[in-house]
Symmetry: C2
Subunit: 341 residues, 2 copies
């Protein structure tokens, strides 16, 4: 268990919908002292049923905490970050779980909060919502992005240890802009494609027959179109430059596929699906290799930061982070073995 100097670490979760609720329940099950807060009174009542303190006042919920997870909707994050850092103790580490990282991290830079705010994004979810849909095991084996900054490395290290220990996730270190570029392709464009497919069916003369024949490919291809509409729209809006850019890449490939069909070019079509199949195979059978790296706790932060960010960009992740006797020790996993030092 992650400790703080002088005792066990105390956590708070602010905003206890699907993601926040899952974080809260997992912390609680793991024996971490945790408080919750949600703007919805009925949700606070529901939270107390789990035996978790849910004060009506946000300041009350965070005032003696060591770490706070901000889990409200994306547009609320900047204001909530200011409120929480006002009421929480000075040394309290704050992170969030928003699906884009550029705007909230820019806000933290503007307000001089980068030493204590670590932008985060656990890559898990379901199309359901609310505390009643929460699943404590939701993050097991999932990628959980945390964005380290040089001045915030101590806060980053504490969070990595906590996330690995309590949630059994894989921590992926990334810059906020790197994250937003990657999730545009790995998550946001898939949401657009699902919306495009479901939207075309909604307006189609053969809608009813399509629903009657829908098999696996249609069910898979429309699943995230069932996500609450406002949540999807917030996510896409918050990352719209990257999303539109990556959508252009996908529609360009779709144009090539249509061209191969119109032009009777079977070889081009088969060749394309071979390459697409290789990406799918690489996704299902990623061959990662473990390595260990140590850095002095108070040494050259640039070297530690470079190691972390290169690991995330290579598709790797951390499974251990321990601070001990003046050094920080990481265990990482990379698709192609340890990076050249």
């Amino acid at each position: 268990m992650v400790d703080r100097p002088g005792g066990q670490l105390r956590a708070a979760v602010v905003g206890t919908g699907l993601i926040g609720g899952s974080i809260l329940l997992r912390l609680h099950e793991s024996g971490v002292p945790v408080t919750g807060w949600d703007p919805d009174g009925a949700t606070r009542v529901e939270g107390r049923r789990h035996g978790v303190p849910f004060p009506d006042d946000l300041g009350e919920a965070v005032r003696d905490r060591d770490v706070v997870f901000l889990c409200g909707p994306l547009p609320t994050l900047p204001e909530t970050l200011l409120t929480v850092t006002k009421y929480a103790p000075d040394g309290c580490v704050v992170t969030d779980v928003g699906s884009t990282k550029g705007s909230v991290s820019a806000f933290a830079v503007e307000h001089g909060l980068t030493d204590r705010f670590v932008p985060g994004h656990p890559m898990a979810g379901t199309e359901r919502s609310g505390l009643t849909a929460a699943v404590p095991a939701l993050f097991e084996g999932a990628a959980w992005v945390l964005c380290p900054a040089a001045e915030g490395l101590p806060a980053f290290r504490l969070l990595v240890d906590l996330v690995l220990d309590v949630f059994a996730a894989r921590v992926v270190p990334m810059t906020p802009s790197g994250h937003d570029s990657v999730v545009a392709l790995s998550s946001h464009v898939p949401h657009l494609l699902a919306g495009g497919l479901a939207g075309a069916v909604a307006g189609s003369a053969v809608r009813d027959a399509v629903l009657g024949l829908a098999a696996g490919s249609f069910r898979d291809g429309t699943r995230v179109a069932g996500t609450p509409a406002k949540r999807t729209a917030d996510m896409l809006f918050n990352n719209r430059e990257q999303v539109v850019r990556q959508l252009d890449q996908v529609t360009a490939v779709l144009g090539e596929l249509a061209e191969a069909l119109r032009g009777d070019d079977m070889d081009a079509l088969v060749g394309h699906y071979r390459r697409a199949g290789e990406v799918r195979a690489a996704l299902l059978d990623r061959d990662l290799h473990p390595h260990h790296r140590d850095f002095p706790v108070d040494g050259d932060r640039a070297a530690e930061l470079a190691y972390l960010l290169e690991l995330g960009a290579a598709g790797g992740y951390l499974t251990r982070c321990r601070v001990d006797a003046g050094s920080v020790s990481y265990t990482g996993h990379r698709p192609d073995g340890p990076a050249a030092s």
Copy 2:
């Protein structure tokens, strides 16, 4: 069990890959006398291990059969249809499982085979292939399209009874062109979108990081890109006019979504995802109502045909078809109750 006059019905499966193999094993498990044939010798040997006769000669496999399932690759179907109808007895009913129906049914019309050939398409599969990947329960609860023609209604009725009895599928009656238009949107365009997404990642500078962060939406959105490339390409080519037309509908919606993002139109984006979510909800919670319809076996075939095709176009299906004492009795299910007679 479906009988023929004078004894139990005897079946053959020609082409025993994933789909044909699953049909063969399910018929065999159900006690239907069945033979198999595949152009690949090793597959025939594998088939015999299941205790099913697999003659080396195709003519031998079908020469005393009452029903034959053609399950080879799409481009081989017309030639195999001619060979099978040459060696099988005159009254033998033939169906296929190809993923498009227009070209094979046109071929059957040209060759005067519509009284005995019933185009079919069971809407189930996995991204695996071959007899070793066969799953006898693959079709339970799945939609299985069968295309009735007026002169082939007796053959159609026999197949409906067999498919319901042995495979526990839902039989959806459709015209070949209606089927091809609907599956373009329900299956073929989803394969294109998966190919477009996986293809964009294959060519992306952030490919490795995307694989590292891929969560549910990306896994779902690329699953069918793992289907064997030639199989996907054959399917798309065989239906390319409808596929390109329906892809245009989807890319038009994607263009609207991108426009809403670029134009800062949050209301349009939320409104779109509400409509998309309704399609998804309708898919998951289809409220169908049963009804019964009888027709004289030798009466006005146009009325029976009209009933069947209207049922499929409405998103409905059959769960019973029995011929008894001069009348044929159907149980059907429709999303909106029984059709006006």
